[in-house]
Subunit: 301 residues, 2 copies
């Protein structure tokens, strides 16, 4: 599982920082999460093939998370994309994109599917054999969802030595992977535990931005491998965090601690701070495994 | 009169090129013309103060001329702008911007005035004592206008030597600037021609993008100081120019020649061409004073 940070700064794009967007590579999916202005250029800069992106998740409809989406959709069209594209985001996103396309007298060359969200409860919005995506209802100035991406590692690992020893045919391998016992030709039943090992631990990534400090998300993000949590401010500006419905680094660390996550990845820094190391220092007082997102960085878990 | 090119490439923003946007400095105005994605970052990069921009002219609602506008409007808001902002562009622009603001639950801190255009005839859309702005109806795949910016140099230049010689009071200087004769205390009438020189030639800038080759614009842009004309293609791709309703460098030069303009500034190059000098070479076969726009360049006239 890899996370590439295309942009992780709050509010307005600048010459040296980009608004929120990141690519999560998980089980051969490339999920684009949020799409601030300039995201398509960041994708090009980091050589991420446009065709690999089939699902885009938008947390909320503030510009620094959303204003790059129409440009990306248009560029896909200009490049003659044929592959389906799925957009997940708050209700209203479809109306906005379709209006902008209509004004440009433009029609996508590919199928564009909108999955508009309105629920205030956590819900599964995408699922296949390998991954599951669930919303994390957040509290911000507008309707906002975080997203929980979970690997499904149901397949047990084959114990090849034991399998060869019993001379079991390949046709039974899938049965073993899914926990089945095997009956040999002579009638002996070999229990699955003898033929396989436990599956790898499934990894998970929780994206939580933008939000005020909110302990209600803890049951949803419990034990995740990585929690990306916004930390727009430091504690010294906690009054601004409360006023603008954002989080401080200390508060984000507190959520990480209570949810017993493995790693906390901070981002969405206000551009008022010159040195983002201050965020790590503050969060480290409460939680140990703190990572700092920054534009262009890639994290592997 | 100065023109700063923020971006001048067609279709999609890339890491090394920007879509259309330029700032025209004329008679102390800073007019922003078109606003592709990333324009706000280009403005920052070139240290153009946001507060200097009071009028934005959008040619048409294709993304490479328009998708940066909502981000710029939002950033002005986040920075607490108070000064009025006037937007000129095709009908529909207001609906789009207001919808995007509404979805973000955002209200501008300043007055935002939309001047929506629908006419297929050239019309004056802005005028004050020093400048006049007129539309140039263009032919493209959607409703499109170019813009003609003209200085008004009505004031004659004072002949200070003659004025001091006749001992004329300062209170009469404005009368002289506007062509009046002066009656001295002894009754002698001094004709204006003795007290002033002809005014400087008024400069003018015509922005024409995007458009197919269209001789109908010639009467409107006749004799302008600078014609910025799109040249998306070279003649070798004239079939694409026709198909997509764009212009070749040769065609742009032909318009410049027929309109007897002083300078032709080319831009809106397709990114298929590695070397934009090819555009100058082609245009120079027909017209001499060819300048090549490129991102970050400034031209003074």
């Amino acid at each position: 599982m890899k996370v590439k940070i295309l942009g992780c700064y709050a509010a307005t794009p600048r010459t040296i920082t980009n608004p929120t967007s990141q690519v999560l590579e998980i089980k051969s999916h490339m999920f684009l999460v949020d799409c601030g202005e300039g995201t398509q250029v960041q994708l090009r800069k980091h050589k991420i093939k446009f065709s690999q992106i089939e699902h885009i998740f938008i947390s909320h409809l503030h510009g620094d998370h959303f204003f790059g989406l129409i440009g990306l959709i248009s560029t896909f069209m200009l490049l003659g994309r044929e592959k389906d594209l799925h957009i997940y985001g708050p209700k209203g996103i479809k109306e906005a994109i379709l209006l902008l396309l209509k004004l440009g007298n433009a029609y996508t060359s590919y199928n564009l599917f909108f999955h508009e969200l309105t629920s205030k409860e956590s819900e599964i919005i995408y699922e296949d054999e390998k991954v599951k995506v669930t919303t994390i209802p957040l509290k911000h100035r507008v309707y906002t969802n975080g997203y929980l991406f979970e690997e499904k590692n149901k397949e047990r690992k084959l114990n090849i030595d034991a399998i060869l020893n019993y001379d079991i045919e390949k046709v039974y391998y899938n049965k073993i992977k899914y926990g089945g016992d095997i009956t040999l030709d002579d009638g002996r039943v070999i229990p699955n535990a003898e033929l396989s090992f436990d599956p790898e631990i499934a990894k998970s990534y929780a994206f939580c931005s933008d939000t005020i400090y909110n302990e209600e998300i803890i049951p949803i993000i419990k034990n995740v491998t990585v929690l990306y949590h916004e930390s727009t401010f430091l504690e010294s500006e906690s009054h601004l965090a409360e006023k603008t419905m954002h989080t401080t680094a200390k508060q984000a660390a507190n959520i990480a601690k209570l949810a017993e996550v493995k790693n906390l990845l901070l981002g969405h820094y206000s551009t008022r701070y010159g040195n983002i190391e201050l965020f790590r220092t503050e969060a480290n007082e409460i939680f140990e495994n703190v990572l700092l997102a920054d534009d262009g960085l890639e994290f592997e878990f």
